[in-house]
Assembly symmetry: C2
Homo-oligomer: 441 residues x 2
Amino acid sequence: MTSSNNEKNFGIGLAGCGTVGTGVIRALQRNGELIRQRTGGQMTMAVKRVLVRDATKSRDEAVDATMLTTDWRAVVEDPAVHLVVELIGGTGLAFEIVARALELGKPVITGNKALLAERGVELFALSKKHQVPIHFEAAVAGGIPIIKTVQEAFVGNRMTALCGIINGTSNYILQRMSEARLDFQTALGEAQALGYAEADPTLDVNGWDAAHKAILLATLAYGFPISPADVHVVGIEQVKPIDIDFAKQLGYVVKLLAVIREHADGAVELRLQPSFVSKTHILASVNGVFNAVAVHGDGVGDALFYGRGAGQDPTASAVVADLVEAARSLCHAQGHRGFLPWAAQGRLLPIEDTKTAYYVRFDVTDRPGVIAEIARVLADHRIGISGTHSPVNPENPDAAFVDMVFLLHSCPFGLLQTALKEIFALDCVNSEPVVFRIEQL
Amino acid sequence: MTSSNNEKNFGIGLAGCGTVGTGVIRALQRNGELIRQRTGGQMTMAVKRVLVRDATKSRDEAVDATMLTTDWRAVVEDPAVHLVVELIGGTGLAFEIVARALELGKPVITGNKALLAERGVELFALSKKHQVPIHFEAAVAGGIPIIKTVQEAFVGNRMTALCGIINGTSNYILQRMSEARLDFQTALGEAQALGYAEADPTLDVNGWDAAHKAILLATLAYGFPISPADVHVVGIEQVKPIDIDFAKQLGYVVKLLAVIREHADGAVELRLQPSFVSKTHILASVNGVFNAVAVHGDGVGDALFYGRGAGQDPTASAVVADLVEAARSLCHAQGHRGFLPWAAQGRLLPIEDTKTAYYVRFDVTDRPGVIAEIARVLADHRIGISGTHSPVNPENPDAAFVDMVFLLHSCPFGLLQTALKEIFALDCVNSEPVVFRIEQL
């Protein structure tokens, strides 16, 4: 940093100038003076270099064209740059940028959940080696300071559960499917038209964007590295309007839910899937592109955090908070902190051992004895039934094929899978059963 | 601190060993090893001295009797004590303890909102002078990290509003009055019997506990000192079952609400009173001893934080988080941070200029012309009426005195007061009108 009159000036190198990068530039222009005052009147920050793919493209007027470069080393290695913000995404060049910044002793702020979830162990080892922090509040739930909460505010708590809605795009799609009875493709198209979904929405709808975030939260809470390959992830592409209708009739809402739980024996349950949430639970009211995370700690008990999970300004707000903290760490020669796993390994609960109640829908041939046959298989596996429903199709009351819903008591997922395989083999069952978990939050 | 093998051991001096103090001792015993791991395996903390009023009293088994003393200097000045936790309450001895600790270079953790709201300016000047931090997450909303959020996570935001339920005792009392139709005294007695209200519940029910917290939040958000004398505070002692009934009929819930808002011209609105909150708003669902704060920032947009506002473990969790941060600051020679007002003065919006819609209940003599007389006065002051209600008492339909409710459009509170004074002077009005604000959240 450069100092004069006790005032410290921090230069920022920005890698990536899309929606969030532009938001960071705008936020620092809008509230720079406020930030200076709040931090004791002695800290100023300004963007000095900006890495872009195309320096000739027209940009927001807040972006000073003379700062633009297509050479990443010119950004990271510029001596006027003290703090590096990585917002280009991906796990290739982004990795190189972060690694080089750490090597040069420059704190890194990133919003790249895929990078940290896939290659966090390597990067945080570099962070420790060079004693330079990586900050990543922007990587999970944009405007909600959930990283800071887990890492700092709840540092004295065993975290028994973290459950939440951490992908706004899929939350919006599910909401539209529910309220306007749209099918998945139509709702997705609408989200894209409104700018809530990327041109390539794959990671949002297949659950992996949320899974990357959940991996970060679980690693912070439990301190061991988690391989994405070990995480059970189901997206929302297979959710059908009929399931949403049934959920409604039964008093539930369908949400793409991240569930992280520590069991008494130390095993950590971590899964991501569309689930039924009781419509009286606060998470059921989280609509649109909002995110929410419910946390249970052994000290704090139940807590819930709600806010905008994405978007230019909320995410930029998280980046700016991290910039201030990183700048403070330079003032105080503070080093690495936080995320590095403290245990070589931990135990993820196998998905087969996770237990919830379930909603299962079968596509069956409508003839006497169907319920008895399915119920027989469930009974053989000692899986309890709490209800069955078979809606009559008013347009075709004598249809040969009908949807038959079973509500099942809590049992291990592996046991359910075994039973469902046997049921699918029955003559009367025409396609793979559809399963939703009924969450007890 | 004492160091060996890179491990730093921090000694804690605890002033006060009531509910929260005992909770801190228990939390450090329960999760000390977890905290050590999370902070990089090199930080341990242990309570060394405990200030009590009566060292002979029987205490929780977690409390080591050999640490107890009735001499506050023996706690603060002990060289084995590096961090001082102040939990005795009040603004006298507590001030001396905090001031002495700062003078000795020992970071202070306090949960004493009255001390900070009444004498914070003096204490934070000492904090700056000695470059020693005061941490106070436990002072506002126990298990909710709202101080950290305002001070750090939202440091890049202009905070346009902070509204919340930040006194669990009064929230519990109002809830019981509503659901069991209890009067105030009965509900208070119940809260006391359950341990939710202190033997002396004055500060909880007169609104001042919440007002002290709101002053801290507003000072953090806007950076100027606020004198408690300038804050408009109304408690819940005057809330009547009939008001709660009317609120219900009209689609509202009565909540003791802290409202902090920055107006476009920079004036800050800060008030505390029982208000009507739409039952569809998330704050209406905050029940029992839970707290919640809704924040609006110019970057993050809407966010909400929900959790336990008090109690042994949630408050101890906040103290422990502050202890970790204070210990880190000692490792990194970090100094004063945060709360010190950055502006010599700011402008509090006079309560007369605050605007909301209102519910006003008049105790009137039942004769023709009453509504016309009251409406005439309101019209003279250009205050709009959105509805009037006069419930019939089924046990006495011809009663001479009745309650007459007026719902009024948004207008300045000062204008309403003037009108109400004139109305109270009317022959037909028998007692001071009862006013609730109808909040637009």
